[in-house]
Subunit: 349 residues, 4 copies
């Protein structure tokens, strides 16, 4: 591999004891072009990361700083796996020091501070913590914003559900395929709900169970999807999005119904063309549909099209690992692009 | 409980070593008004049922007859858990002897022998084995055909996916709710695929996985759904049906998108009214959506409605246990109706 | 069924929102000889039980009282699914009113208040809440204390792990089989850890995982096992007990190594003889070992013996459902015995 | 990394469509010092490997040769993931051509052809296919035979259960710790049973289940364990070994009871010392016991000791991924040693 730079990128990870944080640290630890300078955690400050995640013993035994302490430390690239609001707030001084940031929270994903306010604010944080920066933020969907990412200082790393819906649909909207309506029926593994304890993710309640949640009224991730689809289409696009909780650790599968005059084969062709040359998108055949087991622990997003004809909707199926292409893998891919490293560095395994 | 008859119903079970067969035998064993006369199996003839299903030790230790031998044995009511074609063929002499049959296969579900031929026939059985009986068969969806079931001699026990789609939708179509299109995105536990060994149901391939199958082109169960929806609507109704394989043992959850001018509340009201007084259908609130864990090992079908408004589809969610309300429980409910027993007998647990 | 009494037993359940509580309420709801008078919960007071456990909709929609309020209410038999210490404390006034109690906590299991203190006390409750009652309490292992249970006013319902170890071993110790040492390597489903949220029972951490816990030093349940084995042997017996967390909802399987000169066949024979006529213990053959799937959702304990010879230990394998025979089923079995009902009433399904 | 050789090692994989084969191909595909020349499969000859394992799309799309055809092809190092007997037979001509082989089957693990015959032969293959080669074969437990491996031409890659038992115990026996008896209670994920379809590994029967198998009488893997323990101890050592089937895809956890006068701390110290400097063995503290989730998808074996004192056995707990350190990862580690590559090459992820 030829690298644009010789020395390793010095990185810091805020919120390293979240699932996305731990996955990111694992990936960074084996990345040939990155060097971890610090990891932070509010809840486990002072402990080692490997005492929280025993799987990381011998891989990352670093002591966890507090996020506030961490941001003052030396690093060229800071990843934030903090919750929204806390994330932007803590990243502010980092950004001011000219350090590049990749934010895995929702804070910089929505271009309109009012839309952000509607979905992410409450009494304790009534408005966006840094609306002036929204314009500088680049939406980090690598296959669609690669050029902007290369020069960006703030990356808004896309949501996991969102990535699974946008990757199959954006090329269609960009390519002018006429779509009357779209319904995304998405199913996510439980790690997508995070490491915080909740009754519905308690093992005996999530295991051998399956349920829909937040359906019927708009989910926080819907405006993020609609924003990007609208940009691609050049007109306002709406979407029905139904998330479900799947009793597996990792993985999202989205079954997406599209009302269109185009055939499934035409959709597949358009999408395949768009992603030709892409390392991490695999467009599969209609008889070889994506499934979660094909993508877990990888940075791939698998896509296929079927259905259509006789008034039936075309159906797109996509699958990815919510912690990799849906979060930390894509974050690393963004870092690779920003720092001139090979885009697949540290992501093939 | 007051029973219309004093002596127990003498029953036989063909194909007792399928999952539906074993579940049926378990239910029958504890049914206060039924007495098992024989159980049959082609593959395990001569063994005891409890040697095949160790869970049944002490519950049903009967020796398995061959299906051919079994049908000649004394019983008033014969349940068939055999595969289609084999089922109708073996039931023929039983029916001729005036014995009531409840067929859990697809053989008597489709009223039109040509439609049956399209979906279930091949070279080895080129046509329906007993088309002359189709007219006598009653579709055993208890809440919708109770009166016919009471006097029937042949019951076509509905499919599991089908039951999960028909129960929420039939009252709407019957009630004149205008529905432009309907998409059923259904997810089933692996027991729905049967006890036969296949690569995709091998534990390491089904576990931690999730996949769509037979989507995009019509599935065998679609014509069964459309037949009943059309009867209810009084006009031809089509449907998009997408089955998925869920890594749980039991349970189906269907997320059904309906294009309608009616609101979710109106739909819920219509359906709730229709099922008022029903023991096994629970219409839940929009904030209390059905989930698989609420219904497994029971004969309940849970239903709720949400969504709609602002051009969005109304969303019906239904959940049931594919082996109970989706198969053997409903079969028992049919027997209860046919023999004048309390409809819930042997089904509350 | 002929019942010794005509009217139903009026029962109350304290701590109904624990897993054992909910299982008990489900069982009681379908018990032909019991009538639930109240259910209680500290955390969910004022809500309905079915709003906490949606599966109970239509089965038990009772409003939850506070435990303190509940105990003053009319009932002949009170089950407590409360945590230890809280349980004995709240049961005290109930016992004083002459009401029969079945305590599923550990409070009355250990006959020696000092041993109890060693394992269950801390600063907040420095000693046993009612040591004077220990003598009156009967250890509710039905197959071994049936006569005492029949006349008891306080039942100490055995622990789940403990039941899985005692049922195979007690007949051996009682029968004079010489056992030099015994090691119980036990594996329990996650519901055994209760409904309270903990990191190690969070779905993504328990799923696809397996771990030992509290091994190497004595576990709380060891003294309970040793107490009963010592009574049976007529001499002090010690045991090595190693619990493990199994990624299933329900079920315990114990693999128990016994250093003995007896053969596996002799052990099996002794145990089979002891339990002949028992409804809920199935002694299986060495080629038909117990497994969790054979016993879940039932009140059975399956037992088999293998190994031995050539200096090798004899191996007992036992399996039961931790929430049924290991808790609520056995509690109901105790109630049946205490109130002269058929011992299997409400327990066959 | 500095490599002893500049060009990549040319490798072939026989039996690539087994689980170990597919894992090996994935690892080799990302190995910086290996180049896959061919992959073979009897059942899928002519298909691509990625059509059998969709997860390998874009990673290894090679066409599968027949094993017989494959062995004639150019490669410096041949891995065999074939079943025993077939493996040695097909490897014979390869070995004769001076090509290095790493055999993941049991064919070269037992040094005594008679012991092999006892455990692995039947009428169709009545004796070892190549007894003359047994002497040349080196047992590929890297941490214990590194020097021999470096110069070997035939590697007998250890069994997965065996590795989980030998890694914690060998240093004790080598170090002269006096052990009266040892019992290994081992639990393995279902991939350990292979990709072939069997009823007990059918999803609905393995899921939510747990069972012992082949216990009580000696398992095929016991002589392999005893052989190596005896070599280490310098005297005949016997062992009780009890395998169990765990409802997870990957991972083995062994709980090993040791009758010894030494303390757990002393055992831990001895073992820690032995493995100091080893990349893939992590000796953990007694309060930080190994668990399966810490090692899956890695080449680590985690080990800890607890218990002992007061006549109680010392307990060793070990965990590894049966497909990685228990099979393909260790095979790759062996290749690294044989070809002078860094021992961790391709194994850190």
């Amino acid at each position: 591999m030829l690298y644009a730079r010789k020395d390793k990128v010095k990185v810091g990870v805020l919120g390293a004891t979240s699932y996305t944080g731990a996955e990111l640290v694992r990936l960074l630890s084996f990345h040939p072009g990155a060097s971890i300078r610090y990891v932070s955690s509010q809840s486990y400050e002072g402990k080692t990361l490997s005492s929280v995640f025993p799987a990381l013993a011998g891989i990352c035994d670093d002591v966890l700083l507090s996020p506030r302490e961490a941001v003052a430390t030396d690093a060229e690239c800071v990843f934030s796996c903090l919750p929204h609001a806390a994330s932007a707030e803590l990243l502010l001084p980092v950004i001011e020091r000219g350090i590049k940031v990749i934010d895995l929270s929702a804070d910089f994903r929505l271009r309109d501070a009012n839309v952000y306010k509607e979905w992410y604010c409450d009494e304790s944080h009534p408005g966006h913590p840094a609306p002036q920066l929204l314009e500088k933020a680049v939406y980090g969907l690598c296959e669609h914003y690669r050029e902007h990412i290369a020069g960006a200082s703030i990356i808004a790393n896309p949501g996991c559900y969102v990535t699974s819906v946008l990757l199959p649909l954006l090329p269609l909207y960009k390519g002018g395929v006429k779509i009357d309506w779209a319904i995304a029926d998405s199913k996510s593994g439980v790690s997508g709900a995070g490491r915080g304890l909740k009754q519905n993710t308690h093992f005996p309640e999530a295991n051998e169970n399956f349920s829909a949640y937040s359906i019927g009224h708009r989910h926080r991730h819907t405006p993020e999807m609609e924003q990007e689809l609208s940009v691609a289409a050049g007109r306002p696009v709406t979407l029905t999005f139904s998330p479900h909780l799947l009793p597996v650790n990792r993985g999202i599968l989205s079954t997406i119904y599209l009302k269109t005059e185009s055939t499934a084969a035409e959709c597949a062709e358009t999408v395949k063309k768009f992603y030709s040359g892409e390392a991490f998108v695999r467009v599969r055949g209609a008889s070889d549909l994506p499934q979660i087991s094909s993508v877990v622990h990888t940075n791939y997003c698998d896509i296929a099209f079927t259905g259509g004809g006789a008034g039936q909707p075309v159906i797109a199926v996509s699958a990815l690992d919510n912690l990799v292409k849906g979060a930390s893998g894509q974050a690393l891919q963004n870092m690779n692009i920003m720092f001139g490293l090979p885009e697949t560095a540290g992501l093939l395994r």
